[in-house]
Symmetry: C2
Subunit: 340 residues, 2 copies
DNA sequence: ATTATTTATGCGAACGTTCGCATAAAGTAG
DNA sequence: CTACTTTATGCGAACGTTCGCATAAATAAT
């Protein structure tokens, strides 16, 4: 099968220990021997067996990353950032997609744990039934960090201030003169949704915008619900919103589609704001005004935390991580002054 | 630290062997004992150590998946399919993003090999400098499959017939009366690009379309090059293409953006066809006509192959895998009859 | 020359499993 | 009641590393 340290040792007539030490450039071994070993190892195609190494060291140099659904751009962009950040510290990333399923979420974590990952990074479903599970996880010796806003829970979080981000979007609309603003989001309860919706509702109240209950559309999780909700609003006979704030960019794209299909234009007839700032925002028409989630910073911050915690004994006076970035509004071409 | 089989054995006053066997419901152990062991294991929070298991069994129940760039929708959608397919057979997937870098590609495979993955699934960069590397990989005892069209090489491939797919797109344009068709693709040389471009060039020749050398735009890999190329063509004073075939959907979105920015409409003024059929095609305006890559079938076929090969001794008369799916054109609303 | 110190290497256990083989206990046949 | 089979469990090695401790050889100090 594959070449082991023993094969090299046998070939050279030395002990496995010496080979092991030579390969990691241990000064106790003469330079001469070290070179010979490394040369032969290369020649024989030696590849260290990480499982054997892990068994004794209790380290895998791997971080488990649990996401909602890898096929969604937001998560895959984040995953790429996580992988890059981890790599800088010499860690690999094992990604698992829970598909927003609470049971799979637990199964994924179990799998990670069995694999002996050194740290855990979670974008949680926030399913009610998993709350105890998140709690148990926090008690474990392995470091865990969440990208969620788990305020009341005793867990480590790295997030953006979504209330602030959404508020910036609302302020932008106010400054453009909008007073008829709709909100499209997911029905599912999550910390993200709560913050973004709260900022919208507060803005409606604070700025004295028109209050139209139907202009808050919370639908099932479906890539097309932004499209459908916007189409309904805009094709109705009555009063129509002049601006629409979508809970994420994909929803906003759907809104843009609805606007275009009705022969209207973004932003002249309807302003649209998204949330996330996906890479493709720049490739679409019109380039979307959106709240930028700083994926790179989030990933690096979370990974740095995990890497620092890994290997340090867990103690009572460990500070809880609570890093919050303030997101920026990226103004592009999907928002314009309201001439009403 | 964590609970081991020995802890359970000690607690129950039996041997580790019996515990191990009880946990896998070995009939040699009395039902009574098995139950007691399983109950205690649950109570103690026992989690099997997959590294230890792998060391002896030489199996990790893991498949390594190497992609170009996980943050691109095409790859993340494919990755999700791969994970689902693998899971059906009890395998996990370790994803590594090479970022289209030949060196990282090799490093990724090395990392997989060190981790002892059971099978390897590769979306290769096709870098010239890695050709030897792909060859060596094929010689190894571990099963490997590619999503690339590696025709001349002695490797296992699961692909779609991209010539056929692109040809279907071209036929559609011809039937709509187009004669002025542009092609936008990546400059980088790859089997995918070659097939799609060849189908376009053949169509131009076979159908007697206008031959305008500038209408083949091969640019650097940049999410915005579809936009830029289309903008240049359409804003020039001279003859303009009535239809544009983009090598992938993201490029096609950029084309649509360029059309819209110039005050023109898709499909009334310019027809646009993409390739891939990303999920978001339905969320954008206009819903894109595109060639659908059957990701689910590709993933399932590749995984099935790997799973079957895993554990069977490699032999000379192993048939080489060469599965090719014929992709379908999905006609949506970005293509229309040419009234020229 | 003897002892102490340094330097270079090796032995053997350990990590948490699995698995072949042995053993002990119980059951069946003569 | 001996011999033979079946059933239930345990022993110990193995997987490929690493690491503490020992040993042997070489050098330095007395």
């Amino acid at each position: 099968m594959s070449v082991t340290i023993k094969d090299i040792a046998a070939e050279l007539g030395i002990s496995a220990t010496t080979v092991s030490r030579s390969l990691k450039d241990d000064v106790r071994i003469t330079k001469e021997v070290r070179e010979r070993v490394k040369k032969l190892a290369r020649k024989m195609g030696y590849r260290p067996n990480l499982m054997a190494k892990s068994l004794v060291s209790n380290r895998t140099e791997t971080i488990g990353f649990l996401v909602d659904n890898l096929s969604w751009s937001f998560f895959s962009e984040l995953a790429e950032c996580v992988q890059n950040a981890a790599e800088k510290h010499g860690y690999s990333v094992f990604i698992y997609s829970s598909q927003k399923n609470a049971e799979r979420e637990r199964a994924g974590v179990e799998s990670f744990l069995s694999r002996g990952i050194d740290g855990l990074l979670i974008f949680a479903t926030e399913a009610k039934e998993n709350e105890d599970f998140y709690g148990e996880l926090a008690e474990m010796s392995i470091p865990v960090a969440y990208f969620n806003h788990f305020d009341p829970m005793n867990v480590n979080c790295v997030t953006t201030d979504d209330y602030d981000g959404a508020r910036k979007a609302m302020k932008h609309l106010k400054e453009l003169g909008h007073r008829k603003v709709g909100y499209i989001g997911s029905r599912e309860d999550s910390s993200f949704k709560r913050q973004r919706l709260a900022a919208y509702l507060d803005a409606v109240a604070d700025y004295g915008w028109d209050i139209v209950p139907e202009w808050v559309a919370l639908q099932e999780d479906d890539p097309l619900y932004g499209y459908r909700a916007a189409k309904e609003w805009l094709s109705s006979g009555g009063d129509k919103p002049s601006a629409i704030f979508a809970q994420n960019d994909m929803l906003a794209f759907g809104v843009c589609r609805a606007v275009a299909e009705l022969g209207l234009r973004v932003p002249q007839d309807v302003s649209v704001i998204g949330y996330d700032d996906l890479d493709m925002c720049m490739s679409l028409h019109p380039p979307l005004t959106t709240v930028k989630i700083p994926l790179k910073q989030l990933a690096e911050s979370a990974i740095r935390f995990l890497v620092e915690r890994i290997g340090t004994e867990k103690s009572e006076d460990d500070v809880r991580l609570k890093t919050t970035f303030s997101p920026n509004l990226v103004i592009r071409q999907s928002t314009a002054r309201y001439e009403g």
